[in-house]
Symmetry: C2
Subunit: 304 residues, 2 copies
């Protein structure tokens, strides 16, 4: 526990790396656009070495990575760990890679797998964020939401992830915003600022409509009859899509406030939507990933 750790969050479209001190504090953080899809099959060691340049002399215990780097398209496939799963379960199933001499040990945190409604579901990277948030908040139970391209709802009990469910919220928003007939009536610039009233109107409408398939066409008719200025329509659509996801949330989820994990710009929207329904929540930023990797490393003997 006396040495720094190099923590890496390696996703589809970007790589983030941090040098953490023995107490898990971030000494330095970096990011690069080299997501796994931009790396040739045998190029992973070199990209990692480049991302960590200058940290070779830090005396780190090694490099612990999470995210899509452990997928079939990544460095090497790390078999999914079945739920329920806690820190210990994941730590026991780290995928060890050959040492990278200047950096030391290298390992990948496996993703999780569960079943709901008779179907498999999977995550890679969010388990680490979830563990980090639990650690930061000192929680053992609760409902965690990780919004994004593929939003994850994570049910935690006794410090273990019992089950989770994926919503294609961010991706469907992008498709409707940019590729559908609605794109014709929305502003061309995609630099959408949040208008809270329009957003919350969308959230409310999502509940009324009962299906995004039904509510989405309203963006077109509101534009057609000029009932809402075009500049506010992206916020309204965002409210419809996020509202459709949150429509399924019980009014008072067991285990205290819902924990929102992710970039502030996105978790703020979820917070507004939940508050409008009287559901308490708290927010944790992307630092949850570093805390999660640090906490997992702590439970592994030769990483600790």
């Amino acid at each position: 526990m006396g040495a720094p750790l190099i923590a890496v969050d390696w996703g589809t479209s970007s790589l983030r790396a941090a040098l953490l001190d023995a107490a898990g504090r971030v000494l330095e953080e970096r990011s690069a656009p080299q997501g796994i899809l931009a790396v040739p099959p045998d190029g992973f060691p070199a990209v990692l070495a480049a991302a960590c340049r200058g940290w070779e002399g830090a005396g780190a215990r090694g490099v612990l990575m999470s995210g899509m780097v452990g997928s079939r398209q990544g460095w090497q496939e790390a078999a999914y760990c079945p739920c329920p799963a806690g820190f210990g379960d994941v730590a026991a199933r780290l995928l060890r890679l050959p040492d990278l001499p200047p950096l030391g040990r290298v390992a990948i945190v496996p993703g999780l797998r569960c079943e709901h409604d008779g179907l498999p579901d999977v995550m890679r990277g969010e388990e680490t964020q979830a563990f980090g948030a639990l650690e930061l908040l000192g929680l053992q139970d609760g409902l965690l939401l990780l919004p994004g391209t593929h939003s994850k709802w994570v049910q935690v009990r006794g410090g273990r992830i019992e089950s989770f469910s994926t919503f294609m919220t961010g991706e469907v928003y992008g498709l409707l915003r940019r590729q559908s007939i609605l794109a014709r009536t929305l502003p061309e610039s995609h630099d959408d600022e949040l208008d809270r009233d329009a957003f919350l109107r969308g959230v409310g409408q999502a509940r009324e409509a009962g299906s995004l398939l039904r509510s989405a066409f309203g963006v077109r008719t509101l534009a057609l009859f000029e009932s809402l200025p075009a500049a506010f329509l992206p916020s309204y659509l965002s409210g419809l899509v996020i509202g459709d996801e949150l429509r399924l949330l019980q009014p008072a989820p067991a285990g205290g406030p819902v924990v929102l994990i992710g970039a502030p710009a996105l978790t703020l929207r979820y917070e507004l939507a939940l508050q409008s329904r009287g559901i308490a929540c708290r927010r944790v930023g992307p630092e949850a990933t570093w805390r999660g990797l640090w906490a997992i490393a702590r439970t592994v003997e030769d990483f600790a």
Copy 2:
């Protein structure tokens, strides 16, 4: 009522025209890829004349058109007729265009407008299909479904369209099928044959999941774990999307069987989905458009 009628269904991506005899029977039918988006602003009379070539000597009463030709991007904008609206209301608001000498009178059936959940909704063309189906089936009341890119649910009472609701079902299916992450695991060819079991499994899953945002990711995990052969995944996804639309349908809608109107390949899917929920339905083909235009013309003095 003694003369033929030229009936035209002019949509966004295609134009269909039919020469109907005095009794409304189709004497000849044609289609062309010249949807309104492919016609320059002043090019409509010439495209119509070309589509009707050879019918100049048929002694037609004139040309009656429905569809997006009456939109702002069409020949000339026909103001929406407010609901409730019947044959007579629509007929009284025909948009008259200048006569085209060899063809005679030319007019456009206006679309309809209604409000639900505090939002406006609109249709152009479907009102004519709906009126045609009522005429063909001898109905005055019921729930009509017109599946498509933008599916319409139409509530009819006493021969008038009381209200309707639009679902972006076909468009969202296309976006998920071709533009989303799911496209990577689906067969590249888009010539998707229907597999009934996979489709109905999707319909069932749509009800369980409660939101398409949630159910759609299952297409990816089913592929990941090879739980469903890739060739069946498009049918499964189609079931998820259509199932999400039909999730909102009451188990026993008032007014008898649901009337499905449209191309057989599509109404068959809706029929399968409804039958799986024990909801009775009957199907009417695209000939409903011709019957609708004929029936509207009949109620207009100088078209009759």
